[in-house]
Chain length 416, copies 2
């Protein structure tokens, strides 16, 4: 077709799209302000798990750098620190894997370049946007910062919050024992927050991400503002104290003598305002810009959806570009029709989980602790957020799911 695609942003969305288009013979230029060498010593970017649907897309792109089974994890361990604690396991149908994006993103940039892809390293200023658009048949905006991201208006009907719902304290740590096989732990301290424990491939082997999702006003809110550099020992002790009180099964995995940030810069603190934006704008010359990844929908990291839906949407967009004759508003509409259910479901599901659980959600948690098939289904649906939303979006749907997954002789007890 001879399309020429400009992709601004070299996160997972931009890179998976660039590699997809490259594989299918479509000319794509990647534009980013960060060179591969700049990632090595930078501050932690995020903590990201790739579920098996995303790993399958990596295989399609010929990315096999982290295919060693020893780097993968196979199940979720759920821990609820109720007065009577609940703990249960949910297995994936196929393993997941997390890689530090300071390793992952530059590796993919180098693959793209080695395969002949063009990368321009520069920042886009507002004044040059029209000239940039004029160079391409479609401009893909996959970097939220800067003037390009601001082109896309918020969709208030899908953006219920104006403030972060969690105060995040995210670090990569040494001294946390991994089970064999490895898992991800979802640990909940009601009223205080959640913690996601993720075995993560780093430059120096496996470290442990502690993604602490602290409720504003709860015991651990202050961790999001506690400075490591000022007093590393005090920081370590504050984290250990919080774990001992609120996330005890993780505390039990810690060798306190070895417990520390893997590197001083392996810490990220702050919060995310979940937002969904309109996804298409048309420039005066008729060229369209389409939003991808976080520019389209940014979610709280709790459910591990951001990177996975970004990669999903990148492939949908790539498939549509390869099939399209004309890259116009109708094209963007068709892309949205295909991707919106999964993208919006990830946002809605995550936003739901940021709220105190309904009675029905409480029933679901209790039933999952007794019903492995239900817990497995919940876990597998991290790959398919639209299915999760089908099951969780209302109490009636939660109860219908419980009923369907519960043997008849146990049903009376489950719904009590």
């Amino acid at each position: 077709m001879g399309h020429r695609i400009g992709i601004v942003g070299a996160g997972v969305a931009g890179l998976h799209l660039a590699l997809y288009l490259q594989k299918h013979g479509v000319e794509a230029v990647l534009i980013t302000d960060r060179e591969p060498d700049a990632y090595r010593d930078s501050r932690l970017i995020n903590t990201v798990a790739h579920h098996h649907v995303t790993l399958e897309r990596e295989r399609q792109l010929g990315l096999d750098q982290w295919s060693d089974p020893a780097l993968h994890y196979t199940y979720h361990d759920h821990v609820f620190s109720f007065p009577e604690p609940i703990r249960f396991r949910g297995d994936f149908s196929s393993p997941s894997r997390a890689v530090d994006y300071r390793l992952y993103l530059p590796a993919l940039m180098e693959v793209f370049a080695e395969r002949g892809g063009a990368i321009e390293y520069r920042r886009i200023e507002e004044a040059e946007i029209p000239a940039l658009a004029a160079r391409f048949d479609l401009l893909v905006v996959a970097a939220g910062r800067g003037p390009l991201g601001q082109l896309f208006d918020y969709r208030p009907e899908h953006s219920p919050y104006t403030q972060p719902q969690r105060r995040l304290c995210v670090g990569l740590y040494t001294g946390v024992r991994q089970p064999d096989p490895m898992n991800v732990t979802l640990s909940v301290s009601p009223g205080h927050g959640e913690m996601i424990v993720i075995p993560t491939v780093t430059f120096d082997g496996i470290a442990t991400a502690l993604l602490m999702e602290n409720v504003p006003g709860g015991d651990m809110e202050g961790l999001a503002g506690l400075r490591y550099e000022d007093d590393p020992a005090a920081f370590r002790q504050a984290i250990l104290d919080a774990l001992e009180t609120h996330h005890p099964t993780t505390y039990d995995r810690i060798d306190t003598a070895r417990f520390d940030l893997a590197q001083p810069q392996d810490l990220l603190q702050g919060g995310v305002v979940p937002t969904v934006r309109r996804s298409c704008v048309t420039f005066d010359d008729g060229t369209c810009a389409i939003a991808l990844g976080d520019v389209h929908s940014v979610v709280d990291p709790m459910m591990g959806q951001g990177a996975n839906i970004a990669s999903y949407a990148a492939f949908v967009l790539g498939e549509e570009i390869v099939a399209a004759e004309v890259l116009d508003e109708r094209f963007c509409e068709k892309v949205d029709l295909r991707r919106q259910d999964r993208v919006l479901a990830a946002a809605r599901w995550t936003n739901l989980m940021l709220q105190p659980p309904s009675e029905a959600m409480g029933r679901l948690i209790g039933t999952m602790s007794q019903n492995k098939a239900l817990a497995d289904d919940f876990t597998e649906n991290f790959n398919y957020p639209e299915r999760q939303w089908d099951r969780l979006s209302t109490p009636a749907r939660i109860d219908a799911w419980i009923t369907r997954m519960t043997p008849p002789e146990l049903l009376a007890g489950a719904m009590a």
Copy 2:
């Protein structure tokens, strides 16, 4: 699942859904204010062609009353009465067929009843809507008249007109010769209107529908208000005069001695305001009502899309009902996600064709007259309005389509 579905309206949408649900073991109650016997002598309802995608759905429903190949037509004949007339043919991949709905609808009602389906014959008053909703897990509104249709708000972004764009004069006539095999003729008199000539199965064999789409302010506008009963001979002569001047290839098919309405009541005059409505409302008790068929989108009949998209949407809705555990707003959202592209494309394409042709559309018509494959593609897309919209929605898309379908050695001429 044990769903209980109420379907208000026994047009093609309501009946295809009722028969689909019946086939799949879902309890459906059909509610209509018109008994089968009331159709026989009623005024003409419409003129409707079923394209092959709709005939395939009929086969799935076990409806084989009109499967005789002699009742079908296989191609479109296009006639443009430009100063230099253009005429060309486009073939379907599989035949189409039109049946008078005064025959078709009661026959399907009887099939539904014979197979054990429940039909309630009554009019719904506004006050009883809550009680009606309470009887069902989902209320399907497939009848636009009355208070139920008013529940669904217009979507102004998809409803560009406030007035009919054509003044319709539609009749079933005797004395029009059919070619062998039969065809549908699309005859255009620029500035004055279009006429669709449809061989139609009636109670008394094949008659010819003349669907005259007269432009307001054009020569034939008055036909939409001309009364047959007052002076049948004058009415006949007015139609013949219009055909002779504006649709001469059809005039040439007429045996003037036999030309007349097949029955005095075989005439329908008026106009349609194309509108799209929101498709889901939720009652106080939580029951949802979903719009189907003309309640969801009503189109001008020019492109023959109304019945076909109504049947399509009925099957989408039926499939989703069969698969669903809970029939709520999320359910309606998923139905819309599946059906909206085709339903909206039919509306947009039809609305486009109601406007004077763009230069690109003129190029397309000229090229189709010289390029059988292009004309066949245009014709086949009456089955797939979303594909037609992909090709026609902008001049760039029309030109891309022409380019793709034109042998390189002829391309320079086509795009001149």
